[in-house]
Symmetry: C2
Subunit: 337 residues, 2 copies
C-alpha cells in the first residue's frame, strides 16, 4: 500500500496543542502505515513529543503563524502564509500529503481548502458531512454549515458527493438519499427544496424523496441532503439536546441514594448508549468537494476525537473518495444542465 | 367575566372523535366559564356524549362534511362549506366563538383561519408558535411551519407577535428574542437571517441577537425566531430525538432484572422528566397573526393533549392576545418601512 500522509494543525482547538498531539500519537500507533505531520511551532511540538515514545510515523513541519478563532477567514488565509492551516493545505496541493485536519477556525479551514486545495472540477460548492448515529444505521447529513445559502444545483451536487462517499468509504451499497423538507409529499417544502426535488428525481441516484426532521434520528435514509443553514441548526440542536437529556438523567441519578443504586445498575448499558451517541467517536466533519481530504474537527475536540478524525482521514484517503467523486460526476446527469 | 366560546373540530385527529370529545369533557369540567362547541355530525357526537355526565358548558354544532388529511387545503376550504373546519372558523368570524381548535388537516386549518378569520391588519404572514420545554424556561419558537419561505419583514412580524403573546398570555416580562442562525456574530447566517438581524436590531424589541440550534434546548432566550422551514425541521427533529432517547432507555431498563430494579428506583424522577418534555402537556400550536385564536393540534393528539389545548385556547382568549398584537403593532417600528 502506498504511504498515506496526513497533515494536522496542532495549533487549532480549545484544549491546546497537547491534546491534539496526544490524539495524533494514539492514531499513529494504530495506523502504522500512515505518516502524521504535526504542523505548528517546532519547539513547542518537540517539547510535547518528548512526553511519548518515539514513533517512526510522526514528524514535524514548522509553522510559526496561527490563525485565531475570530479572524476573518479569507483575509487570514491570504495573509498568514506561515500558518499551520495554510501550510497544511499547501502540502496537500503539492502532493506532499493527502489529507489535512484542523480543530481551529472552521471558516479559515474551509477557505484555505477552497483556495489552496481547490474544488473538484464540476463541484461548485463543497459541503460539510456529519455522521448522525441512529439505532438503525449511521445517517450522513450534508451540508452541515459550509453554505448558508444554497441553490438547487448545489443540493444535487451534495447528493452526488455523498453517494460517492458512502459507496467508497463507508462501504454502503446503493445508499438512499432523503431530501430534508417539511412534509413527505413532493409538493411540500420551500422553493429551494421543491426545485432540488425535481433535480434529484431525475438524477439517477437512489432518491427516496422528502424526509422530515424526525427522519434523521429515525434513520429513514442513509443520506440526508439540506442547505447549510438548516443542516447547521440540526447539528447543533441535536448535539445539545442529547447532551442535555443525559445531563438531566445524571442529575437524577446523583440526587438520591436510590438514584445512585439505579445508576450503578444501569451504568454499563447507559455508557454504551452514550458512546454510540458521542460525536467524538465519529471523528470530524468531512469537507466534501475539495480536491483532497479535509477534516474539520470541533474546537472542543479531545485527544479521542482527534485520534478518530485522523483514522477517518486515513480511510477517506485509502478509499479514494476524491477520485471516486470525480468519476461519479461523469456518470450522473450533468449538474449544469 | 364574559363568556368564552371555543369551537372544536371533533372530526380531525388520528384517534377519532371519541378521543377529542373526551379531551373536551375534561377541559369543560376544569374551565366552567368556557363554553365548548363540538363540531361534527350531531348523531355521532351525541352518542359519544351519552357516555359522560351532562355538562352545561358543552354543546353541539352540526357539521356534516369532513376535510380529509390529504385534501388540498385551499380547495377543501372553498368547497366544503359544511365541514367542521369551515364552520368553526366562521363562528369566530361572526363572533359566535373566540377560538377554534383542530387536530385535523393542518394546512386546511391554517387556510381556513387565513381565509375566514382573516389576518390581523399589519401582519402579512401568520406563524405557528410552539412551546419548547427546557430546564431553564419554556422557549417559544416560531414559525414552526406555516411559511416555508419567508422574507426578513415576516421574521420581524413574528418577533412582534411573539413578544405580545409572551407578555399578555405567558406573563413574561420583557421577553428576550433570539434569531436562529449558524453563529453568534451578526455577520453569520444566511441572506434571510442577516437581513432580519438588521430589522430586529432597530425594532425596539428586546433583541438578544443570533442564537444557534443548541440555544433552543439551552433556553438562552424566551423567544426564537426563524423561517417556517427551519422551524418545522427543529420541531420534528427534537420531538423524535427525545422520544428515541427515552425509548432506548426504556429498552435498557426492560432488558434485564437489574435494569428493571433500576427502572423502579428511577421511575418517579424519570416520569417527571418525561412529563416536562412531553409536548402534549403544552396543548397545541398557536397560529399567531390571524384575527382570532386558532390552535392546531397534532394529528396524534390524545384526550390529554386536547384538554390542554382547549385550556390554552381559553387563556389566549382571556388574555386578549389578538387585541394585544393589534395594539403592539402600533408601538413598534413599522414593518413595511
Amino acid at each position: 500500500m502506498e504511504k498515506i500522509v496526513i497533515s494536522v494543525d496542532t495549533m487549532g482547538g480549545d484544549r491546546g496543542p497537547g491534546e491534539i498531539i496526544q490524539g495524533c500519537i494514539s492514531a499513529a500507533k494504530i495506523a502504522r502505515h500512515v505518516d502524521i505531520v504535526l504542523l505548528g511551532p517546532e519547539d513547542l511540538i518537540k517539547a510535547e513529543l518528548d512526553k511519548y515514545e518515539n514513533l517512526p510515523n510522526i514528524r514535524i513541519e514548522n509553522a510559526l503563524e496561527v490563525i485565531g478563532m475570530d479572524e476573518e477567514p479569507a483575509w487570514a488565509v491570504r495573509n498568514k502564509k506561515q500558518s499551520s492551516i495554510v501550510i497544511g493545505n499547501q502540502m496537500v496541493r503539492e502532493g506532499k500529503a493527502q489529507a489535512f485536519l484542523s480543530a481551529g477556525n472552521t471558516g479559515a479551514t474551509m477557505a484555505a481548502a477552497l483556495l489552496i486545495m481547490g474544488r473538484i472540477p464540476g463541484i461548485s460548492r463543497p459541503a460539510i458531512v456529519i455522521t448522525f448515529p441512529t439505532r438503525k444505521r449511521h445517517v450522513y447529513l450534508l451540508d452541515a454549515g459550509a453554505n448558508a445559502d444554497c441553490k438547487p444545483e448545489n443540493l444535487l451536487e451534495f447528493a452526488i458527493m455523498a453517494d460517492s462517499y458512502l459507496r467508497s468509504v463507508i462501504k454502503r451499497e446503493n445508499p438512499s438519499i432523503g431530501l430534508l423538507s417539511i412534509g413527505e409529499e413532493k409538493a411540500k417544502g420551500n422553493e429551494l427544496s421543491k426545485e432540488a426535488f425535481a433535480l434529484l428525481e431525475r438524477s439517477g441516484l437512489n432518491f427516496y424523496g422528502n424526509v422530515e426532521g424526525g427522519d434523521i434520528p429515525r434513520g429513514t435514509t442513509d443520506i440526508v441532503i439540506c442547505d447549510g443553514f438548516t443542516g447547521n441548526v440540526v447539528l447543533k440542536l441535536s448535539e445539545y439536546l442529547v447532551k442535555e437529556v443525559f445531563s438531566e438523567i445524571k442529575e437524577i441519578i446523583n440526587s438520591s441514594i436510590s438514584g445512585k443504586i439505579a445508576g450503578y445498575l444501569l451504568k454499563p448499558a447507559l455508557k454504551k448508549m452514550i458512546k454510540r451517541l458521542d460525536h467524538e467517536e465519529y471523528g470530524g466533519m468531512l469537507l466534501l468537494g475539495v480536491n483532497g481530504v479535509c477534516i474539520i474537527c470541533h474546537g472542543s475536540s479531545s485527544a479521542k476525537a482527534i485520534k478518530n478524525a485522523v483514522l477517518q482521514a486515513a480511510r477517506a484517503v485509502e478509499d479514494g473518495v476524491v477520485a471516486k467523486i470525480k468519476e461519479d460526476l461523469k456518470g450522473t446527469v450533468s449538474v449544469n444542465g
